[in-house]
């Protein structure tokens, strides 16, 4: 794996910050609903039909726990979703780095490393799913 730092061209889109602003707005909207106690508990169709949780089961509870600043509980509700959130936050920080430094960093992976990453994510996905089923989330 190699990291290559290059300068940003003027007017180049800062995608992490665009996603940050959109996600931030959505979170604010959900928080308004949360304050007004209007977040409905929508049941998972997959779980109802099969009896097993789907890979994203617990997402609403992760959000509820985060609004109550209960980080441990949020992690236990759905570890992979929580980790995805952490990766997203790191990506947003990278967006701020691009904004203030005027540089961007390219991650260059070899074919083998990309394959390893893809397999790693898939394995994590299934381990998380097994955990959700075992923990009865």
């Amino acid at each position: 794996m190699k990291l290559k730092s290059t300068g940003r061209t003027k007017g180049e889109l800062n995608l992490p910050l665009v996603y940050f602003m959109v996600t931030g707005t959505c979170i604010l909207m959900v928080y308004v609903l949360y304050l007004a106690k209007q977040i409905p508990r929508i049941p998972c169709v997959f779980k109802t039909l099969t009896g097993y949780p789907c890979p994203t089961c617990g997402a609403t509870r992760v959000i509820r726990s985060l609004f109550q600043f209960d980080i441990v509980s949020a992690f236990l509700r759905n570890p992979l979703l929580f980790l995805a959130g952490v990766v997203f936050i790191a990506w947003v920080f990278y967006g701020f780095y691009m904004l203030f430094s005027g540089k961007k960093v390219q991650v260059i992976l070899t074919e083998k490393e990309s394959r390893l990453l893809r397999w790693g994510v898939m394995i994590l996905f299934f381990i998380n799913w097994i955990y959700l089923a075992a923990a009865g989330v």
């Binding site: 889109l13 910050l17 707005t25 049941p43 109802t48």
Partner: protein, 244 residues
């Protein structure tokens, strides 16, 4: 003849601004008369969905609004039909199944959820969707352009903003996914609108984000105020009762 007379006749030298001349804009495949109708449609859909930055930056979007409007109506109508179909057939049957299994589930208004998918609604959607799409496009484009002007980011005309909104309708295709399709369409639609306004108006993403997200935040603020007012009214009523 002195030096000044010569200089008047000679063409003025190009200004040394240091900027590279802008390359000519490409024609949007759907607006290209040399392309077949459906080839152009699918190429445009693919470009907007998978290469939005390049599409909104490099393609000509400040022309007429006729073809983009047709594009938006076609996509929007298809999406509305699919969404209504999910509401009528799939969601309703799943919801009735869920209601059977979990009748006492806390916080779910089954009647309200199930009421969204009658056959009458489906027929109304088919007839009225194009009209609502056209009105909606003009209203959304107008709001975005107004906020872009407030942020001093409107470097192109209204047609550019309109075309960004119209081609951004392609995200409505996520309605094909039942249950969460509308949410995905809405979130990706916001992202595409920001990318589109920044690219087409040649403005920075902060101003584009302001134009797209400020109206949403304003709505959010209004909803919060309404809830606070309702809460305050309830509190006052309780206070009045206790004082008596």
């Amino acid at each position: 003849m002195n030096q000044d007379d010569y200089s008047e006749q000679l063409p003025s030298p190009p200004e040394e601004t240091g900027s590279i001349p802008e390359p000519p804009k490409l024609i949007v495949p759907f607006e290209d008369p040399t392309k077949e109708f459906f080839t152009g449609l699918f190429e445009t859909m693919k470009l907007v969905l998978f290469e939005p930055t390049r599409f909104f930056r490099d393609y000509k979007l400040d022309g007429s609004i006729g073809r983009p409007l047709l594009f938006a109506v076609m996509i929007g109508w298809t999406a509305a039909t699919v969404s209504a179909m999910w509401g009528t057939v799939v969601n309703k049957s799943i919801l009735s199944y869920l209601q059977e299994r979990m009748p006492d589930l806390e916080g779910v208004d089954w009647e309200r959820l199930a009421s969204g998918g009658s056959s009458m609604d489906f027929a109304f959607t088919l007839i009225l969707a194009p009209i609502f799409i056209v009105f909606g496009l003009f209203i959304i484009a107008g709001v975005y352009h107004l906020f872009l002007m407030i942020a001093k980011g409107a470097n192109k005309n209204f047609e550019t903003t309109f075309n960004v909104v119209a081609y951004g309708m392609v995200t409505r295709l996520a309605e094909f996914i039942p249950f969460c399709g509308s949410l995905i369409a809405w979130i990706y639609g916001l992202v595409l609108a920001i990318i589109g306004l920044a690219g087409a108006h040649k403005t920075d993403s902060g101003k584009a984000a302001f134009a797209v997200l400020a109206p949403v935040l304003l709505c959010c603020f209004c909803i919060l105020m309404i809830f606070m007012m309702i809460g305050a009214t309830g509190f006052m009523a309780v206070l009045n009762k206790s004082l008596r």
